[in-house]
Amino acid sequence: MSRVIEAVPMPRRWSTARENALQAGLQLIGIGAVYVIIVIFFSFATEHFFTYSNGINVLTNVTVIGIVAIGQTIAIISGGFDLSVSGVVPLGAVSFAILTNAGWPVTLAIMMVLLIGASVGVVNGLVVTIVGINPLIATLGTLSITSGLAYTLSKGVTIPFQNRGAGVLADKTAGGISYYVLLLLFLSIVGFVMLRYTVFGRMLYAIGGNREASRLAGMRVNLVTVLVYVTCSALAALAGVVVASQLLAGSATVGSQAALQSIAAVILGGAALTGGVGGIPGTLIGVLVLGTVSNGMALMQVPAFYQQIATGSILLLAVAFGRLRNILVGEQS
């Protein structure tokens, strides 16, 4: 018996690798240029901005969102996204505080927290792939569950570290840079290499570009999708460890903005919510843009309400700028 396979049109962005790379490169240059402009503006606007200590301060402030955003980049490239990170970050922070206070060695506690995060990722992945629920609904559900778990475990109160040594990730190197900043850089490099140079990474772009075509091409789409959510949640849990180390305490209130800020950073960095486009360098610059704008406005003593308005406006402008450039590149090609 012959089997009729419906023809699946190849998306235009698959038409040439060169065009794809050109778009990504232009996007990166674009957001990079935006970042340089922001840095120049704040350097003139406030004397406290362009200093070494404030540079470290910006890196310190963006690390948690940066780690979450690496996972979010992977999820968005593969055509999904993960709202549950806003629950996994506090769950990771609270779990880490409880475990280290119970006398667990830091390394073992971190591994346990990663396992907790990965478990949430497995649930997310299975609900999205096997049950077929939209990632928005699936991860919204797990966001609520994990956030509730964090409150339940902590009984709604902040859990300070009994052993200050548990905050080892916040210890500083000779240059005054915390280890967690180096961790962010390390994870970024790993993420970049994975996406750019491994089969798994290329599969993510393919699945994000066209899920059905990828399946027909023999890729194990469901397995890859589950792995994506596992990675994303594990990184969010690790971000929870980092924020707990920063604060020397675990709290269910931390990370509440992680989902929105990480998605914003990924989109700023040139990824498309439709999947198949994006990358770690762009995301990192997106994270830096958000962190630097927030820092610069704080140094300029702009009231908090206006900071929110300005951050949202910058996000919209940057995304619109990227969209306009994509249209122009499309017309030229």
Partner: protein, 400 residues
């Protein structure tokens, strides 16, 4: 979807009559299986008698029956407060039925309607949503039931609350002399206050009155309290306000940024609207290695903050409001209402500024309350009910 019999084999079909493939059946089964724990959890959360609506009732009680709506039944602070009301009612011999307003306007109004149906003698209403006070008043007045508003005032009712402005000012009166003893002056000191912009004016009174009082005592540039709003960032040459959104993480980030603008040789007086915020802010100060040059005071009396007050030389004061013991004051206040005593416009919750010298007087090593401060003159009517004496835990009040 239903099942049809086909040659003794039950085959699953969908609503259009199409037979489902094995994979589709597995998917549905997996979906059902995965959904059940979630649904069960949700049902447990919604169906339990500890959530929205009535949340239980204490024993047979005595002469009076009060209805009590707690603002929220999650989070240690609120749960302990609610439990405290029930325990106090048992000691006082008052029957109490407990509700959960769930920090939500609709639930609060629904609970108000439920409560009046029971025709209690009095309602203790802890509403966390500003702006629905008039609706609540109407429900209670229509039922002709007296009520006590907790924290957020309701027109026409009695009011029980802490006084944030007094806590802020009293804290400054403790912190500033310590700074002055160390030789800190207006010329070399910055007051850094951390507000929670979304918490409202009354809650933020503590930080702005802290600045106002500290500025007056140290001879800094004085400003009117009302000129320090949620949008204020630079108060004066010696005063900065940042927004920590009342949380640990945001306060850490906000103070991290603010420290960049305060020269390293300046001393800092740090004060925030609650202990979580203070812990986050203090962490930023220590990371910047400016702790030796900073004096800090907390607000809330949390276990973590009490530990800091006992062990951290720079943490010199802690405002405590004894939330866990509010119940005994509320029950006494309720009985005073029942007995037609004269009730002041505001009955103040117990509050005291703890120092390193006094912390052990009021709290044990585990952070449990040992003693409550003496009644302020306006609250002395509470002693006349005879209720507070039953607890034998208020300074200067002999047990019955």
């Amino acid at each position: 979807m239903d099942a049809e019999t086909n040659q003794n084999i039950r085959v699953l079909v969908d609503s259009t009559g199409r037979r489902l493939s094995r994979r589709e059946v597995l998917r549905l089964a997996a979906g059902f299986g995965l959904s059940m724990p979630v649904i069960a959890g949700l049902l447990a959360a919604c169906g339990g008698d500890d959530d929205d609506g009535a949340a239980g009732e204490n024993g047979d009680g005595g002469e009076y029956f009060f209805a009590f709506a707690n603002v929220l039944e999650s989070g240690e602070l609120f749960v302990q407060f609610g439990d405290g009301v029930i325990e106090a009612a048992e000691v006082a011999g008052v029957r109490v039925k407990r509700y959960n307003n769930n920090l939500d306007a609709e639930t609060t109004l629904s609970n108000a309607r439920l409560m009046v149906q029971d025709q209690p003698d009095l309602i203790l209403e802890y509403n966390g949503v500003e702006g629905i006070g008039e609706s609540l008043r109407q429900i209670f007045d229509d039922a002709n039931i007296p009520f006590i508003a907790i924290n957020v005032p309701i027109p026409g009712g009695h009011w029980f609350n802490l006084v944030n402005r007094e806590i802020g000012a009293d804290t400054a009166r403790v912190v500033v002399p310590i700074a002055q003893e160390m030789g800190w002056t207006a010329a070399d000191t910055t007051v850094l206050i951390v507000q929670g912009s979304t918490a409202g004016v009354e809650v933020n009174d503590c930080v702005r009155y802290f600045y106002v009082t500290a500025a007056e005592m140290m001879g800094m540039e004085e400003v009117a309290p009302e000129s320090i709003t949620a949008e204020t960032t630079r108060i004066s040459d010696t005063g900065l306000q940042v927004d920590g959104l009342a949380t640990l993480e945001e306060s850490y980030t906000a103070v991290n940024n603010a420290l960049q603008t305060i020269p390293e040789d300046r001393h800092i007086l740090l004060y925030t609207i609650n202990d979580d915020s203070t812990i986050g802010a203090w962490r930023a100060v220590t990371e910047a290695q400016r702790d030796a040059n900073t004096l800090v005071a907390g607000l809330g009396g949390s276990v973590a903050a009490l530990q800091e007050l006992r062990n951290n030389p720079q943490w010199v004061a802690e405002g405590s409001i004894f939330t866990t013991n509010w119940g005994q004051y509320l029950i006494a206040m309720g009985i005073a209402v029942m007995e037609d005593m004269e009730i002041p416009e505001l009955t103040k919750s117990p509050q005291v500024i703890l120092t390193k010298e006094t912390v052990d007087t009021y709290y044990d090593a585990d952070g449990h309350v040992k003693l409550l401060p003496p009644l302020v003159p306006e609250n002395e009517y509470l002693a006349e009910t005879g209720v507070l004496q039953k607890f034998n835990n208020i300074e200067g009040l002999e047990s019955s």
